[in-house]
Structures are given as structure tokens and as C-alpha cells.
Subunit: 132 residues, 2 copies
């Protein structure tokens, strides 16, 4: 693996992700970074996000809404996605370590990760749906 050099942009991406807990997409991150770094490019954001993902400093969340979301919190945890507003939230559930073992079987070599995502309606959207 190639040597990493310091880069202001990479630090900015990391910091921006660290300060928000809404699991932004690359573009959302880019939009907010542009306020402080008007010349940063979307390509750079993508490049650094994938670099940071590869080194394990951040994590990618695929929740099926058409774009990847990113999470500064790399400790194993689960997410909830609102089907109405698309919000991605952290859940306060203990990791179920035994799950990976349940998956082993004849066609499976090793299991080293599982992604558990819950879907439904967040409180706010659920309330709105009742008012209709």
C-alpha cells in the first residue's frame, strides 16, 4: 500500500465528518466543506473518502438510497434509516457478536463483518403521517 502524505484537504474531510453525526454522503460533505475551502473539488472529497475508508479511519454505509453515506464512528454499531426523509441514525444497541458465527456454513469461508440496518419511519415522519 502506498505511503500517505499529509494533506490539508484530507484533514478537512476527516474533521468535517467527525463533527457531524448525520452520516453525510460525499456530496453533502462537499457542500459543507466548500464553505471553508471554496476551491476543494468533489473529486478530492471522493478520493479522500475512499482512502480513509480503505485505511479504516472511517466507514461507508450502504443503505440503498442511491448513494453511499459515511460515518466517522468506526466502532461496530447499527443504523436506522427513515423511509420517508432518508435520515440515517445511530442506534444504541449492543453489537451482537454471535451473529457472525451464525452465518458460517459449507459455502462460506470466513465471516468478518455484518451490517444491520433497520428501516421504518422516524418519530417525526411517523407523527406527520398520523396527522393526515
Amino acid at each position: 500500500m502506498k505511503e500517505l502524505k499529509y494533506s490539508r484537504q484530507r484533514e478537512a474531510v476527516k474533521e468535517a465528518l467527525q463533527t457531524r453525526f448525520d452520516h453525510p454522503t460525499a456530496d453533502a460533505l462537499y457542500q459543507s466543506l466548500r464553505e471553508k475551502y471554496p476551491h476543494i473539488s468533489l473529486g478530492t472529497v471522493y478520493r479522500n473518502l475512499s482512502l480513509l475508508t480503505d485505511t479504516g479511519s472511517i466507514r461507508k454505509i450502504s443503505c440503498g438510497d442511491g448513494s453511499e453515506h459515511y460515518d466517522y464512528n468506526v466502532s461496530d454499531h447499527y443504523h436506522f434509516v427513515c423511509r420517508e426523509c432518508g435520515k440515517v441514525m445511530d442506534l444504541d444497541i449492543d453489537l451482537i457478536r454471535s451473529l457472525n458465527d451464525m452465518a458460517v456454513g459449507p459455502d462460506i469461508g470466513i465471516v468478518n463483518f455484518h451490517s444491520l440496518i433497520f428501516y421504518g419511519y422516524c418519530r417525526e415522519c411517523y407523527k406527520k403521517s398520523l396527522e393526515r
Copy 2:
């Protein structure tokens, strides 16, 4: 919701998906459908896949490899994805019904689905990796 009319293409999409257990992408399905229906268009495949998904006849699997996969099996079950070859496999694990209840919390309205995907290396790719 609009009324659905019979269409040969839609039936073909459904049937093609029913006969394969590899959770194909839209394009993979399109490629195999072309053998029997050389004039079917990719747009039609996409349109029908999303129609069938909306009506609940099939299910979409977002495993984070850049494209959606489709599953004829709509009963709740879990998947395994090989990080090497990208294969998506069904797992023979009982649905953990209690999971959805664990997700409830102050910011959450209702939880009605969860997606559990395991990642690792399939038997075949794992063996190959040991030989190196």
C-alpha cells in the same frame, strides 16, 4: 396506485428472477433475458424491476457493491456477500424477529424491516487466498 396490465416482458422478468438464485443485478438479468427476448430493453427491465419491487413481488438487496441486486424470495432472510468475487448468497438462518423491537427509541416512529448482510470470503475465494 395505477392499475397494472399484463405484459409479456414483466412476466419474463419475474420468471427469469424466479429461476436463478444468484441475486442478479438489473443488467445481469437483462443479459440473460436477451437470449429469449432479443428486443427487450434495459429500460423495460429496470421499469419492471422497480414495479415488482413496489408491489412487493420481489425484493431489492443493497449490498454496497455499486448496483442493486434483486431477489425473487421475498420471505425475510439474510445474505452473505463475498468481498472477493462479489457473490451474494442466501443464508439458512432463522429470522430474528425480536431485532426490530430492539431498535425502538425516542427518535424512532416505527421499525418494520431490517436488513442483515454478512461480509467475508466465500469458501472458494478463501481457499484460493490460502494457496498464495
